[in-house]
Symmetry: C2
Subunit: 275 residues, 2 copies
């Protein structure tokens, strides 16, 4: 049994509908830090194990959660665990800032950037590009049924970055007029598949068909150290419209051959030539 | 000025949000037939011209409306015009039945058919395949923001054809597991582009990427005799979610290279080899 306060954090993570793999990993790290404040001894050690399982269950598609759980040692030393949890948060914030620095260099004057759903990492790049004085426009898909795209649009309003919102079905139509595509990621597998919000694969295909460079922005903790695409479980949240059940897998997989590069805090990863 | 009753038919056509190019062409033909009952002489001749313009304005993307207007002669003979209007309706019903006969032959036992939005022509094929005793399943996209896919799903419920509804963003995910794609059309241009509900192009790309045969079902009156893709005006119906304007072009264009064949009442058209 985890302390109620920690369970509450896990519940919040499970109910999050807008923010993705970066945010949830940070929340998971906060749950570890909190656990280290509350428990000690045998109870702490058992709590650590349980918390790892619960964090993975929040969203088994996300490599960020897998890597967080891997990052935290299971040892009977709450201070050290808390320090590691806080280190994870600090590293992930630094990574995001650095991705903003690197990614914003890809944005040219008057770029038309198309994106799908909401990514805090993509937002960071756009903010940095704006700070650097670049003028550009963003095309955002709504991303039904939870409309993360509208959340993204409101963030861009805040930063006075011009945007247009489109329905998901128009990703192909609008990709034709874009000059750059930029999306986030929830998991990047060993065999080079990018798992991101369902619809990303469609955008990648449309960009490929129209010669639009398609980039992924992701902290390296979203790279899965072991899994291949077929090992990834894609979680589904079915819902109803009228009386009809709507299938709703949250993520899809884009193969590396459609990706120009993955912008990480260490630099831009490009596919090996033979792909 | 058109008679109020005819204006009313045009208004209904303009407000139709679910049914497509076949249905609207038939309604247009009914408007011609009704005009021929109400007016005569000079008034009838002027009414004919005005009605043609108004029908084209209902949806300039639809070749079916263009071909209807082309099919109706502008002559001072209400009986003849009414006969032509009724001939159009009869031919279009025969065409749909024949497409059902031909198209249903493409459906094998245990086929998984993916489609986008609602098409009465695709529905006809599925009904015929069911009548022929074939067992198959249909995957339908919702097709936001008007959810024609749900309308389609309810039709399939009626005919006891098994189906699953997905969000538009999952077209790529589910195309992988389909064995056949089947969509309708609103306009097929001289240079081989199929204009259909926005999102169709994305489905075609996903089918191409996964080796799934992609067929279009369309009466020949949806083939535009003159226009090329760049001549087609795609109508847009913007809407708001929260305070944010959402762009909403209704159609996109799929090039012929991604289409295995177009099922018409005359047989299946296939792309010339060099495409």
């Amino acid at each position: 049994m985890l302390p109620q306060e920690v369970e509450e954090l896990i519940r919040e993570m499970s109910e999050e509908r807008i923010r993705g793999a970066s945010y949830l990993a940070q929340m998971g790290a906060k749950a570890y830090a909190r656990l280290a404040e509350i428990l000690e001894g045998e109870e702490f050690l058992n709590g650590l194990k349980d918390l790892g399982v619960e964090i993975l269950n929040v969203n088994p598609t996300m490599a960020s959660l897998y890597n967080l759980v891997r990052f935290i040692p299971i040892i009977d030393n709450p201070e050290f665990v808390a320090a590691k949890a806080n280190e994870f948060i600090r590293l992930s914030e630094e990574a995001k800032r650095e991705i903003g620095n690197i990614g914003s260099e890809l944005i040219d004057q008057n770029e038309i950037i198309i994106t799908h759903s909401y990514s805090s990492t993509v937002l960071e790049i756009l903010k940095k590009a704006k700070e650097k004085g670049k003028a550009f426009k963003v095309i955002i898909s709504e991303s039904g049924p939870d409309y993360e795209g509208l959340f993204f649009a409101k963030k861009l309003e805040e930063f006075e970055i011009p945007f247009e919102v489109i329905t998901d079905a128009q990703l192909g139509l609008f990709a034709k007029n874009a000059t750059l595509a930029l999306v986030g990621a929830d998991n990047i597998t060993k065999d080079g598949y990018v798992f991101n919000k369902a619809g990303t694969y469609l955008l990648a295909l449309a960009c490929n068909d129209n010669g639009i460079p398609f980039y992924v922005a992701a902290e390296t903790f979203k790279i899965h150290p072991e899994a291949r695409a077929e090992d990834i479980k894609i979680i589904e949240r079915k819902f109803k419209r009228d009386h009809i059940i709507i299938r709703n897998y949250l993520f899809d997989a884009t193969p590396w051959k459609y990706i120009r590069g993955i912008i990480t805090e260490l630099g831009i990863l490009v596919p090996p030539k033979e792909i």
